[in-house]
């Protein structure tokens, strides 16, 4: 390579460094910008409803009365269903990939699971609305109602669309992320520890539950937060299948809404300033929720990297 003369190098270095610094600055400004813009655009709604917005169940564009409770409830419940399914499933998948499958099989199965993450949200939505929800309504939900109908969770007509299908689809969407982190955590466990357990006659499961999981407990928490962050703001897939109804019901069969689905559905139709402002405030609430989860995940994983000698 050609080497520049001393005079010009300093100039180029300063320019290049400035360009990289400016780009980095854009990130911090954009982040601050998001918070500022959302707060500014929801001022009408904040002034009118105050903190009551968060626990008011009203949502009536005609009487101009808005509250976030049903959307927050739907967001939390669909995310909870997703995590309850995704965490054990991805733990089992990670166990299969790291401990059980022969390396060649493990690689291909790993790719397949990763590929789930590449499928766009809207495709999950199409499949969910036209294929999966009808399947649930015809084959799964009647069965659940028959055997679990006495609980409040399986009441009402089995329509397919609702909290349950939203939660299951969200679980499929976060699965690749959580299982990837868990897989890494599993393979980080020093072989000596595992061999010691095996040497004492422990079975694969005993080694996993008593050694690997304990050694990587913090990393598994990180996987949980990562999945949580993904699920909480997922928009299109949820919008397709959740049913978009501003109501709170304990039944998993009933239609509900999430913050993201409310935004996707109603934003372009909202013409009134207070209506729009309330929708933006919903966005602000979602922003605050994800920021909290992301912040915990970020510092948790960083702390983890320090204590286990990894980077970041």
């Amino acid at each position: 390579m050609k080497i520049g003369s001393g005079k010009h190098t300093g100039y180029g270095d300063v320019l290049f460094k400035a360009a990289t610094f400016l780009s980095a600055l854009i990130f911090s400004l954009a982040m601050a910008g998001v918070a500022f813009e959302l707060a500014r655009s929801s001022r009408l709604s904040i002034a009118k409803f105050g903190f009551g917005f968060l626990w008011s169940q009203a949502w009536n564009p005609v009487t101009q009365d808005f509250g976030a409770l049903s959307s927050i409830y739907g967001t939390l419940v669909s995310t909870l269903i997703a995590m309850v399914i995704a965490i054990p499933l991805s733990l089992a998948i990670a166990l299969f990939l790291v401990e059980l499958a022969p390396p060649a099989l493990s690689r291909w199965v790993g790719y397949a699971i990763e590929l789930l993450a590449a499928i766009p949200s809207i495709i999950f939505g199409m499949w969910g609305l036209f294929v999966f929800a009808p399947f649930l309504a015809d084959h799964v939900q009647p069965f659940l109602q028959k055997f679990g109908g006495f609980t409040p969770f399986f009441k009402g007509p089995p329509m397919g669309i609702g909290m349950m299908s939203a939660g299951i689809i969200l679980a499929l969407m976060v699965l690749p992320f959580t299982s990837a982190v868990m897989r890494e955590v599993f393979s980080m466990t020093p072989p000596v520890l595992k061999e010691a357990a095996y040497g004492m006659g422990a079975t694969t499961w005993e080694t996993t539950s008593k050694v690997t999981v304990r050694f990587g407990a913090k990393g598994l928490m990180g996987a949980f937060f990562l999945g949580l962050g993904r699920a909480i703001g997922e928009t299109m897939a949820v919008t397709f299948v959740i049913g978009n109804n501003h109501s709170i019901s304990a039944s998993l069969f009933s239609a509900g809404n999430s913050i993201a689905s409310t935004l996707a559905n109603e934003f372009t139709e909202a013409s009134d300033p207070l209506y729009l402002s309330s929708l933006v405030e919903l966005g602000l609430v979602l922003f605050a929720m994800t920021l909290l989860v992301q912040t915990i995940a970020h510092f948790w994983l960083r702390h983890l990297g320090k204590t286990t000698g990894g980077r970041q």
Binding site: K17, A30, E234
Partner: protein, 280 residues
């Protein structure tokens, strides 16, 4: 450890092994289910008109989504042209200049947060920033909202990939008298080439499949994307509105568009995977 009979412990172990194998199969099963449905229903909608004609009203014969295909390509290209350089330069800053500094850790934090930010929030942000200010939905606003998808992914992978280049290579270049910007662009980039391209392709693939950021920015349009100051047609928002419509022929078109998006995004993803495998 409680004492249990060996038979019971082994039986439990087999049960867990079986459950974990079944879990892996469940993951693959859903992947295949989704792909088969999209290919099966989508291929019925694809024909020459689909790629060359403008949308037809419901009930009318023929018609295609040529404008939406073009709109998606244009907006993604513009977003890439803006987002990739910013992302790469930020990655360079984090890896080469600000390794341990306070500002760098702040930026690293915002990159991470932005990567996990729901895409509908970026759409909302660009709406309040551009659409409200300018007074109309536009293709430009759509492209800008996609920039916020591309930027953090590229920045994150760039930092990771550059960090994998050993410091001895930097030191050799500097010892030969190369200025640090040439060291970065000529030596470190060359070492991390495959990884950098992978990050860029992944980011573009993600942006191509995004819907939520476009909902309130570019909106959608049944016309050719001639002027980006107007609402601009795109595949993903078209899928959303056609799927929610009561017309079977529009829903059919939505499946066609779904197949196109899925094939595009997955082939880009697989390509990057192959590149990484060949390198490793």
């Amino acid at each position: 450890m409680r004492t249990r009979s060996r038979a019971r412990r082994v039986a439990l172990d087999y049960a867990v092994r079986a459950a974990s194998t079944v879990s892996a199969l469940i993951g693959i099963f859903f992947l295949c289910w989704i792909l088969v449905v999209v290919i099966h229903r989508g291929s019925a909608a694809l024909n020459w008109d689909f790629f060359t004609k403008l949308p037809a009203p419901p009930g009318a014969e023929g018609g295609g989504l040529a404008n939406a295909i073009l709109g998606t390509l244009i907006m993604t290209a513009i977003a890439g042209a803006i987002g990739v350089p910013i992302g790469v330069l930020t990655g360079v800053y984090l890896s080469e200049y600000g390794r341990g500094g306070t500002f760098a850790s702040l930026v690293r934090f915002t990159v991470n947060v932005m990567m996990g930010l729901p895409s509908i929030i970026t759409g909302l942000f660009v709406y309040t920033m551009l659409v409200v200010t300018l007074g109309h939905f536009s293709g430009w606003a759509g492209a800008v909202s996609l920039v916020f998808i591309i930027m953090p992914i590229v920045a994150g992978t760039t930092e990771d990939m550059l960090r994998m280049v050993p410091d001895s290579m930097r030191e050799s270049a500097l010892a030969l008298g190369a200025p640090s910007w040439r060291t970065t662009l000529g030596i470190v980039f060359r070492g991390a080439k495959v990884g950098l391209i992978t990050g860029v392709l992944l980011a573009i693939a993600r942006a191509t499949g995004e819907t939520a950021p476009l909902l309130f920015t570019s909106l959608n349009s049944p016309y050719w994307p001639g002027n980006l100051n107007h609402p601009t047609g795109n595949l993903t928002v078209t899928i959303f509105s056609y799927a929610m419509s009561p017309y079977p022929d529009w829903q059919q078109m939505a499946w066609g568009a779904s197949l196109l998006i899925t094939v595009g995004v997955l082939s880009m993803t697989i390509l990057t995977r192959l590149a990484l495998v060949r390198k490793g």
